[in-house]
Amino acid sequence: MTTFDLTVLLLILASLGWWLWRYIARTFSAKCPGSGCHSCNGCSKGGRPD
């Protein structure tokens, strides 16, 4: 594996970890319905991007 590949891999892992942590935190947050707002019409915030 080249240095470039290794850098790409580390970036992917960091991005995935950050995104998944944020997604799970938002999903189970009492303030936010389900997966955020993108698929929700449950409140006035519906339609607002994640």
Binding site: T2, F4, Y23, P33, G34, S35, G42
Partner: protein, 671 residues
């Protein structure tokens, strides 16, 4: 209210109301929930009110006083009710109050923007011969809807004073108080005794009870409640009433409550035809459409036929734009592959991002078409008729009539659908609606069905989609029936269904709806589906020497799914669907990529690897198995319990495994 305000008022009948005396009158406010009754009560009594419980129960009522021209009015705010004949505690409280301690006058508050439904309660009060004055709230809402109501004409037809009122201001208060004073003093509308002519068999039953000394309104109310309203009949009367009820039951499929409602609404329709711009006679075309859509024998086949047509069109029409998107995605993939040197980044872009995201993006037209058809059914007024058709079946499996909307919303996304179950007040009915919602096939599962049906059942793909959605509904109803028998009901809840008129859907509104849903789908592709694809690609690509982690994981779990003929690829795809169901399709594209440049290559690879019976079982498993992460979070939030989340997950997994196994074995025989 200052005395000066009333000084200028005079009355045509010459009644002298300006003189002060010590008389006091009790006036009860009654009306449907959310009609603005309590707001009007607050305007009438101001700060002079107290809260207490109705006799013997914990239903709260408020009382307050108001002095008008030297006369003391004692107002009682009764609980909001739709009817006086049901078993709900608020209705029993209001019914008992009006029988045991009738007030001097009843101020019936109505929501003018839902006049027909609100007048149903008025007819019950009038049948009972109670002195009633009508106050129409929310006339401004009615005007906003482009309609009007002639108060004079309505008053004349009913033979009751009908006045405008407004719970948000004191605008109509002097006029209303003067009218209450006139009616209390002159007893203008006492003993009205409205006589509605009901269906002949029902009239015969009423006459039989009247012959035994039961007053007409009690006979109607007793039959309407199927004997639940207790009027202390003697043994002879009770026996005759039960015989009359049994005879009625043997002559009609609909229960007496429906027959009484038909009579009442027939009377109300005639009334409003003269005084409301909203209630005009149905056109012959509308009447014909209703005669088909609501027909006892044709209604359900027409409903099923329309659903089949919807899925067939979703698959067939969606196939053309899906091919164009597929070609474009393949072209982009080829260009990127040819421009970039071999590296991990190239593999990520081509094999992970473009393959995974593109693999779901091609189903955008199918999703959009499904939403378009559902919106068409809703906006035309057909969906309300479908709710009416299925109401009987839903009540038999323990589902509340209000559950129809959350269940239909579940075809879009289970998250807002579960949240919309908040409209159901009764805890058991709400819990059942929440727990069965994941079985309503959400739009996220559509890409998986279209992909697999296109591979294994290309000629009957529409029928397969239709059968899957029907299976989801059947399982949902079956689970509801079981849950209804295991969870105790806390109280009954009234549901009144109003059929909207048939409407030609607005093109603009349809396009806006579809645009909104397409935006949701694209946002999801750019979020959770993209991340899911990258995750699957990562697990598929490492370690670079040896068996990939994804394959190792797949082989580890695969024995569980071996009885359905699933390979490790299907196993990992199902595991990834836990994040979001669309990721199943993205995962299948990523794990099956065998150098193919478009969907045709994937179809060929999957077609070789998987038997059609396994393909069908995979669709059934996708339909029934555990809810996605967002739905799980919503179930937890709405039920406030991890226990019900556990029940939902476990129930889904067990039913999915059993369902897929049965389908695989049956399909293996026939296919």
């Amino acid at each position: 209210m200052s005395p000066d305000e009333s000084a200028a008022l005079s009355f045509s009948d010459g009644t002298d109301l300006s003189s002060s005396d010590n008389s006091a009158f009790t006036i009860a406010l009654i009306g449907n929930p959310n009609c603005g009754k309590t707001s009007l009560f607050n305007q009438l009594t101001g700060a002079r009110q107290r809260t207490g419980n109705m006799a013997g129960v914990t239903v709260t009522s408020r009382e307050g006083n108001c002095e008008w021209r030297g006369v003391e009015f004692h107002f009682i705010d009764l609980p909001g009710v739709y009817s006086l004949s049901n078993s709900r505690v608020e209705e029993k409280v209001a019914r008992d109050y009006l029988i045991d301690s009738p007030p001097d006058l009843i101020l019936n508050v109505l929501d003018a923007s839902n006049l027909a439904r609100n007048l149903a309660l008025t007819t019950q009060l009038m049948e009972q011969g109670l002195p009633v004055v009508l106050a129409l709230n929310m006339l401004d809402e009615l005007e906003k809807q482009g309609h009007s109501v002639a108060l004079g004409s309505l008053s004349e037809s009913l033979g009751l004073p009908v006045l405008a009122s407004d719970g948000r201001s004191k605008k109509y208060l002097p006029e209303l108080l003067e009218q209450l004073l006139v009616v209390c003093r002159t007893e203008q509308c006492a003993e009205q005794g409205l006589h509605i002519e009901y269906e002949p068999h029902l009239e015969q039953a009423i006459s039989e009870l009247e012959a035994l000394g039961i007053v007409r309104w009690m006979a109607v109310r007793w039959l309407e409640s199927s004997g639940e309203n207790d009027f202390n009949f003697d043994a002879n009367q009770l026996s005759a009433a039960q015989s009359a009820l049994a005879l009625l039951g043997s002559r009609h499929d609909e229960d007496p409550a429906e027959m009484v409602a038909q009579g009442r609404y027939g009377y109300i329709h005639g009334l409003l035809h003269k005084s409301s711009s909203e209630h005009r006679d149905q056109s012959s075309a509308d009447h014909w459409l209703d005669s088909i859509a609501l027909n006892r024998w044709l209604g359900i086949p027409v409903f099923l036929g329309l659903l089949w047509l919807m899925f067939e069109a979703t698959f067939t029409l969606g196939g053309y734009p899906a091919d164009w998107i597929d070609t474009s995605v393949s072209w982009v993939g080829e260009q990127v592959a040819s421009l970039m040197p071999e590296s991990l980044l190239k593999s990520l872009l081509v094999d992970g991002l473009i393959a995974g995201v593109g693999g779901v993006l091609v189903f955008l037209p199918n999703v959009v078409l499904l939403f378009l058809f559902i919106a068409l059914l809703e906006q035309s007024g057909y969906m309300a008729r479908a709710a009416f058709l299925t109401d009987n079946l839903m009540s038999k499996v323990g589902l509340h009539g209000k559950a129809f909307v959350p269940l239909v919303m579940g075809f879009g996304c289970n998250v807002p659908a579960i949240m919309s179950a908040r409209t159901i007040e009764e805890p058991r009915a709400r819990l059942i609606t929440i727990l069965i919602n994941p079985f309503m096939s959400c739009s996220a599962r559509l890409p998986v069905y279209v992909l697999l049906a296109g591979i294994f059942f290309a000629e009957q793909a529409g029928t397969v989609l239709f059968a899957l959605y029907m299976l989801g509904i059947l399982v949902a109803f079956g689970v509801a029936a079981v849950l209804a028998r295991t969870i105790p009901e806390q109280h009954d809840e009234t549901f009144i269904m109003e059929l909207p008129p048939w409407r030609m859907p607005s093109i603009r509104s349809l396009l806006l709806h579809v645009w909104d849903k397409a935006g949701d789908f694209l946002r999801k592709i750019g979020g959770v589906i993209l991340v899911g694809s990258v995750l699957i690609w990562l697990l598929q690509s490492f370690p670079q020497n040896g068996t990939p982690w994804l394959e190792q994981l797949g082989h580890f779990v695969a024995p569980l799914f071996a009885p359905m003929g699933f390979g490790w690829q299907e196993t990992v795809a199902l595991l990834s669907g836990f994040i979001a169901k669309e990721v199943i399709a993205a995962s299948l594209v990523v794990v099956y990529q065998t150098g193919m440049s478009d969907m045709a290559g994937l179809q060929a690879a999957m077609g070789e690897s998987l038997a059609p019976a396994s393909g069908l079982a995979l669709m059934v498993f996708t339909l029934l198995y555990m809810p996605c992460l967002a739905t799980i979070a919503t179930i937890q939030r709405e039920t406030g319990s991890w226990r019900w989340v556990g029940v939902s997950i476990l129930m889904g997994l067990v039913l999915a495994w059993i369902g897929a196994w049965i389908v695989f074995n049956l399909a293996s025989i026939w296919i």
